[in-house]
């Protein structure tokens, strides 16, 4: 007995999707180390896509056979209905984002070279490519999978870092506008580390309060531990900062426009879709499993955060002249709409299921549309790279009607116009919130949507009702991007016209709620 450590029981089968992704990431590292440069790309692309697709198939298979009712891996990971749904969503979004990454020309040849130096010039002429992108993406996706499924705060912190660290790097790898890209990476890293510290400090304080980092145990401690409220309140607030930072809720949103703008656009797409989904999954789990008993106190605070987030996102987006920054603010506003759904979680089981399923549907709908929108951004190019300034998009409807129509569709979906996926997403969330008694919040949400509709429609007007400039940008659509756009259009339209299957799926997934 003495000195022996009992071997943990790990349900490898249940963890298989994560294991496949992480395994592929490690193989990717080995490829980087041993395969000759000319082969790497050819190995990475199929490997990455196959890993993501395989993980997705396993997830589906798991969801169809048995959904565990207890946490797995000694209580560190909880694989339940919502987690599986979120996994499926993240894997599909990551898959389409990788299709975007596949298309050449987004990443720098040599990231370590000083921008504009002779060294960089040489790497360019040699045709060097940063194939490390692929294993980095796989690690980030692995982190995204673990983040919403983590059942204790330490596992969640590890997941947060596994997800974030590769993304910090990926942000700095843009081929064009190197300085902006490196600035974005440094900012993201500094602020991310700052917020991680908050998360960790909150974890420590909660451990001090509850004597455990296990979410369920913290939840049960809420009713039994007395006289430690200071620890609890500060701990919960700190934890909240870390999570709200990741979803870009105000007042922790400042990084989002700068990072979204500077990053290579395919990475922006991955962050705007996958990271957001993962962060919301984690946020829901923490506030539902661990802090469910404290709901009466966090609900008003979440109200304030949701209102501030929607208003800041919608209002600041109006004066943006850069398409990527505009989409970043749009993403902030959508984070606010999603927070309405978080507020709608309440005491009654029925409300919880409908609010949770509404959130899950919203995440799918928004994720697809946002990847599609960023995919379109990659196709409109000037001599110096992508044409970000809105004035360059003037008259695009006359030059490339199809591209403009597709982008308009995505913008209308963001605005929540009926017959697009965005309408049902918003509708489901708002309806759940009204049922839960959060009507004033819904009113703010609708007003913000109206403000947001202005800048979406403004872009449409610009594209279709302005004359194109003589030296307007050209539109280049590589095969992968084409497929991504088609998939996003399909998802946006099908979820907008015939949403019931996915709504049912989300409902079934939400039925089991989060396991404790």
């Amino acid at each position: 007995m003495n000195g022996t450590i009992p071997a943990p029981t790990i349900e490898y089968a249940l963890l298989a999707p994560m294991l496949v992704v992480f395994g592929a990431a490690i193989i990717g590292v080995l490829v980087e180390a041993f395969a000759p440069r000319y082969l790497r790309s050819a190995i990475h692309k199929p490997l990455t896509l196959l890993a993501l697709a395989g993980a997705f198939v396993i997830t589906i298979w798991q969801a169809r056979t048995n959904i565990p009712t207890r946490p797995s891996a000694m209580g560190a990971v909880a694989i339940d209905g919502p987690a599986l749904f979120i996994w499926g969503t993240i894997l599909v979004l990551a898959f389409v984002s990788v299709l975007l990454i596949n298309d050449e020309g987004h990443f720098v040849a040599s990231a370590s070279a000083v921008p504009g130096s002779a060294e960089e010039e040489r790497a360019l002429t040699e045709g060097a490519v940063h194939t490390e992108v692929y294993p980095l993406v796989l690690f980030a996706v692995g982190g995204m999978l673990l983040f919403p499924a983590a059942n204790d705060l330490l596992a969640m912190f590890v997941a947060l870092e596994v997800m974030s660290l590769p993304l910090y790097l990926l942000c700095g790898l843009a081929r064009r506008r190197r300085l902006l890209s490196q600035e974005a990476a440094v900012k993201y890293f500094l602020l991310g580390a700052f917020s991680s510290a908050f998360f960790l400090y909150g974890t420590a304080l909660l451990y001090g309060y509850a004597g455990s980092v296990d979410l369920a145990k913290i939840g049960s401690a809420l009713g039994s531990v007395g006289g430690q409220d200071t620890l609890l309140y500060i701990g919960v607030a700190m934890l909240g900062v870390g999570l709200l930072f990741k979803i870009g809720a105000a007042p922790f949103q400042a990084w989002k426009p700068d990072v979204y703008q500077g990053s290579p656009t395919p990475i922006t797409a991955l962050m705007a879709s996958g990271t957001l989904v993962a962060a919301f999954g984690a946020l829901l789990r923490v506030f539902w499993v661990a802090l469910g008993g404290l709901q009466w106190s966090w609900t008003p605070i979440m109200w304030g955060v949701a209102i501030l987030t929607m208003v800041v996102g919608a209002i600041l987006a109006i004066t943006q002249t850069d398409i990527k920054r505009m989409l970043a603010y749009s993403s902030i506003a959508h984070g606010g709409f999603l927070l309405i759904g978080v507020v709608a979680l309440g005491d009654k089981q029925q409300h919880n299921v409908s609010a949770l399923s509404a959130l899950l549907f919203y995440l799918v709908a928004y994720g697809f549309t946002t990847v599609g929108a960023f995919a379109i951004v990659t196709t409109v190019r000037d001599a110096g790279g992508e044409a970000w300034h809105l004035s360059r998009w003037a008259g695009l409807g006359k030059r490339r009607p199809l591209v403009a129509v597709v982008f308009s569709l995505f913008l209308l979906a963001f605005a929540g116009i009926p017959l697009t996926s965005g309408f049902f997403g918003k509708y489901a969330v708002f309806q759940a919130a009204v049922e839960a008694g959060a009507t004033p919040l819904v009113v703010v949400g609708v007003v913000s949507s109206a403000i947001a509709a202005f800048f979406y429609v403004r872009v449409i007007v610009l594209m279709f009702f302005s004359d194109p400039a003589a030296d307007g940008p050209s539109v280049v659509i590589p095969g992968g991007t084409w497929a991504v756009g088609a998939a996003a259009v399909l998802a946006t339209v099908v979820l907008g016209v015939f949403p019931q299957p996915v709504l049912d799926l989300a409902h079934t997934a939400a039925q089991s709620l989060f396991v404790r």
Binding site: A237, V241, P251, F252, G304
Partner: protein, 633 residues
């Protein structure tokens, strides 16, 4: 005698009576969708579908005659129209079949006539498509076995009328007239729509059979309201006071349109509506029925007075149409004693008015589309067939003994006299004025000196135009006597609308009849001295204030403009002002406010990572503080 029960029917020609509507509708669809490819045979197809529909109508009529009179109300179920509200079916009974035969019969003749009249119009195919559309809609109106189906037909008729009045849309006057007709009709249609809503609320059904047999007993007030709203609808479509103003302008349409729609069929829809709803909503002596008679008498006098002063041949005829429909309304308001006369007059009027309108078209065709009668004169010698047929129509309308109008109008006057002597004598007065203005029209056109424009070379119209005139004039001679003598039509119609216990008998020498004849003769004589024997000035003299009153349509338009149009325009201007200054100001103000806020807020986004970190720190501090505040509440 009460109307008979409506029974379900299947089989035979009646079973496929939907063909009546489907045939012209198909014609319209082919001509409208086929485009220029159908230009070559468009007019022939249009005529063929109308005639085919007439043939089906005759067969349906014959089958109907085969049944016992008490079983002559038959409904043919078609499909579930509005699930849970009403099924769609066709009601074939003596009333609807009378209309079917009139619409398809006279309609076919006018189709044929139009081949010649529109021969040189580049859009002849479109014209026939609209005519077919009109026939289909009108047939739906009279055949539907429920109010909603009737309403669909009602609106379809309104649409076809709009399209045809504005057929020469390159003329601003035609476009305006079409718009006016549409808008004025909208007022009436609104009344009909609300009436149908009320019927549904009160009876929980909209089918005629359902309402008739409904056990519901709505309050008298509800019934009166429904009756008055239905009357409003009828006034719109039938150009009765106060919604009469559109009919005179509607003469901007091609003349066959004036003949078919604005004389023979569409304008009779109001009479149909009142008669069809009579047993339910206009029982004898009810407020609604009294309102119908008052509207009828007022319109018959107003139309006649307008007719005395018009120099435009079509407008004089339009005034006459108003007046004659006023007679029908009067009879319809009288109740079961009047229905048969109302519908009989409607049918004979359909013949002689179509005859005269087409005759007028023939004259215009000959006179380079001149419509001013002061520039006609002496045309009887150059256009003998047109003259002869027109003369028969004229004699019929003024009630010349033994012609159609004599029997039917006399029936109306007699039944009105029995109902209320004042109404009866006013109707007699109307007949006298009719004698004057119709004689004036005939004398100015066909008699007296030639006052033609220099380039006018009148000639008789081609056979395709004269044959319909001849057929119509034969009807104008004999139809009235055939229908009225021996109460033939009243007996036939009785299962559909009921009839009085004592059948009226025809008195050739009643007091009212003799006075009517005397007044008509006096009117005709006056017209002869003023317009036949005397010189007619080519430019209209100023005339007394009474003449001006009549020329200006009794100031109906002025009244509408003062009461509705100008206040409406002011309201529009006010709304625009309020929209620009108030609402737009508010909206733009909010937008500017948000934009300004956005511009100020974005300065917070400095780009310095230290500021961002500070904002996170401050945010965290606020969050912690908030938690303490909320937690300790």
């Amino acid at each position: 005698m009460e109307p008979a029960k409506i029974i379900e029917h299947s089989g035979g020609v009646i079973g496929v009576s939907w063909l009546l509507i489907a045939l012209p509708l198909l014609g319209a669809a082919v001509l409208l969708l086929g485009g220029r490819k159908t230009d070559r045979f468009g007019h022939l197809l249009g005529v063929a579908t109308a005639v085919a529909s007439f043939v089906v109508g005759v067969l349906v009529f014959l089958q109907l005659l085969g049944f016992d009179p008490a079983e002559r109300r038959r409904t043919v179920p078609l499909y579930d129209f509005i699930p849970g509200l009403t099924k769609m079916g066709l009601l074939v009974d003596p009333l609807s079949i009378s209309f079917v035969l009139l619409i398809t019969g006279v309609g076919s003749l006018i189709h044929i006539y139009s081949i010649g009249y529109m021969a040189h119009d580049p859009n002849r195919r479109r014209f026939f498509a609209y005519l077919n559309l009109f026939v289909a809609a009108m047939l739906l109106l009279v055949l539907a076995d429920n109010y909603i189906g009737l309403y669909v037909g009602w609106e379809g008729v309104g649409l076809a009328s709009y399209l045809l009045i504005g057929f020469w849309q390159h003329k601003p006057s035609a476009a305006t007239a079409a718009k006016k007709a549409f808008i004025v009709n909208r007022v009436g249609d609104f009344g009909l729509a609300i009436a149908i809503f009320t019927i549904f609320t009160a009876f929980n059904t909209v089918s005629f059979a359902g309402v008739m047999e409904s056990g519901a007993h709505p309050s008298q007030g509800t019934l009166t309201a429904i009756g008055l709203l239905l009357l409003l609808g009828a006034c719109g479509k039938s150009a009765q006071l106060p919604l009469q103003s559109w009919l005179l302008d509607a003469m901007e349409g091609p003349t066959p349109v004036s003949a078919l729609i604005h004389a023979a069929t569409m304008v009779t829809a109001g009479v149909y509506l009142v008669t069809r709803s009579g047993a339910m909503f206009f029982p004898e002596g009810s407020t609604a029925a009294i309102a119908v008679t008052i509207v009828g008498v007022a319109t018959l006098l107003a139309g006649a007075i307008i007719g005395t002063a018009k120099d435009d041949i079509k407008k004089a005829l339009a005034g006459s149409t108003m007046s004659q429909i006023g007679y029908m309304m009067l009879a319809a308001g009288v109740g079961p004693a009047g229905y048969a006369f109302a519908i009989a007059h409607l049918i004979t009027h359909g013949f002689f008015k179509a005859d005269m309108f087409l005759g007028a078209g023939s004259v215009m065709h000959a006179m380079n589309d001149e419509v001013d009668m002061r520039k006609y004169g002496g045309l009887r010698k150059v256009m003998p067939i047109t003259f002869a047929t027109f003369l028969i129509g004229y004699l019929a309308i003024i009630g010349f003994p033994l012609l159609s109008g004599y029997f039917t109008k006399d029936g109306i006057i007699e039944s009105a006299m029995e109902h209320n002597a004042t109404l009866g004598w006013l109707a007699v007065l109307g007949a006298g004025i009719t004698g004057f203005y119709m004689s004036r029209l005939v004398f100015m056109t066909f008699f007296g000196q030639k006052r033609w424009e220099a380039d006018a070379h009148p000639h008789e119209s081609p056979a395709v135009m004269t044959w319909p005139l001849i057929i119509l004039s034969v009807g104008s001679i004999f139809l009235g006597g055939f229908l009225i003598l021996g109460n033939r039509f009243m007996t036939f119609l009785a299962p559909a609308v009921g009839r009085p216990e004592h059948l009226p008998s025809f008195h050739p020498f009643s007091v009212a009849g003799l006075v009517t004849l005397a007044l008509v003769a006096a009117g005709a004589a006056l017209a002869w001295f003023k317009y036949g024997a005397a010189e007619v000035p080519v430019t209209a003299p100023r005339g007394s204030f009474l003449t001006t009153f009549a020329r200006r349509d009794l100031y109906g338009d002025a009244l509408n403009e003062a009461l509705f149009m100008r206040p409406g325009q002011w309201l529009t201007r006010l709304a625009v002002f309020f929209d620009n200054r108030g609402i737009d100001g508010l909206v733009n103000g909010i937008a500017a406010g948000i934009g300004g806020t956005s511009g100020r807020l974005r300065r917070v986004q400095t780009g310095f990572v230290r500021s961002y970190a500070l904002s996170i720190f401050v945010g965290a501090a606020i969050l912690v503080g908030a938690w303490f505040v909320v937690g300790n509440l």
